[in-house]
C-alpha cells in the first residue's frame, strides 16, 4: 500500500464518520420544519430550472411517478406549486412553482445561511479557513457521488 492510498483510507474513514454525524444532525433539524427533503428539493428544482413535466420531476428526484403525483398534490394543496396542461399533448401535466412557493424557497435558504453563519462565528478562525478552503472540494465530491 502506498502513502497516497493510506491517506485516502484515513480521509475516507474520517469523512464517513463526520458525514454520519452531520446527517444525524440534519435529520433532526429537518423533521421540525414541515417540508420533506424531497418536497424541498422539488421546490428548489422548480425555482432554479422552471416548469417541468411531472414525469421529468419524478426522474430528477429519484422517486416513482405515483410518489411525485402525490407530492405535487400536497404542494398544490398548500399553494406552493400549480398544475398546468400541455396544449400540444393532452396527457402531460406541467408543474410550476407559485410566488408563495418561491418565497418559501428563499426564506428557507436565508434561514439556513443565517443559522450556519451563527455557528461559524463560534468556530476558531483556523476552522473557518479550513471549511472555506474545502467547500469547492466538497462540491466536486458531491458531483462524483451524484454521477453514480
Amino acid at each position: 500500500m502506498t502513502e497516497a492510498d493510506a491517506g485516502i483510507s484515513e480521509t475516507a474513514a474520517q469523512l464517513a464518520a463526520v458525514v454520519e454525524r452531520l446527517v444525524e444532525v440534519l435529520r433532526r433539524l429537518n423533521s421540525r420544519d414541515g417540508l420533506s427533503l424531497t418536497a424541498a428539493s422539488t421546490l428548489r428544482r422548480l425555482d432554479r430550472g422552471g416548469a417541468r413535466r411531472l414525469t421529468d420531476l419524478a426522474a430528477a428526484e429519484g422517486v416513482t411517478q405515483p410518489a411525485m403525483t402525490q407530492l405535487v398534490s400536497r404542494l398544490e394543496r398548500e399553494g406552493l406549486v400549480s398544475r398546468g396542461g400541455d396544449p400540444a399533448d393532452g396527457r402531460v401535466v406541467v408543474v410550476r412553482v407559485t410566488a408563495p412557493g418561491r418565497a418559501l424557497v428563499r426564506r428557507r435558504r436565508a434561514a439556513r445561511v443565517r443559522a450556519l453563519s451563527g455557528v461559524l462565528k463560534e468556530l476558531p478562525l483556523a476552522d473557518r479557513v479550513a471549511l472555506a478552503a474545502a467547500a469547492p472540494a466538497l462540491d466536486r465530491l458531491a458531483d462524483l457521488v451524484a454521477e453514480r
Copy 2:
C-alpha cells in the same frame, strides 16, 4: 461590516449550498438500503454505547416514546435488537443490539468507507488534502449544531 464578517457570510453561503447538495445525494443513497436514518442511528448508538432503556433511546434519537416502541418492534422482528426487562424495575424495557445487528452496523460502515474511498481517488490531490484538513473542523461544526 468587517473583513471577518464578510468571510463568514461567504463561507456560510458556500457551505449551505454544498450541504444542500450533499443531503440530496445522501437521501437517494439512503433510500435504497432498507434502513431508515433513525433505525441506522439507533443501531449505531446501541453498538457504541451498549444496552439502553427505550425511553433513553427515544430521547437520544429525538423521537417520541411511541415512535421508538414501533422502531424497536420492527428491529426486533428483523432480529437486529432484543428486548429485555430490568429486574430492579418492572416497567423498564432494556434494548440490546444482537450479533446480527452488530454485523450489519459494521457492514454498512465498511461499505460507506469503501464507497467514499473510491470517490476520493478520483479527486485531485489538492482536494483530498483540503478535505482531510477540514474533517476536524466539520466535526466541531457538527458539535455546535448538535448543541442547539
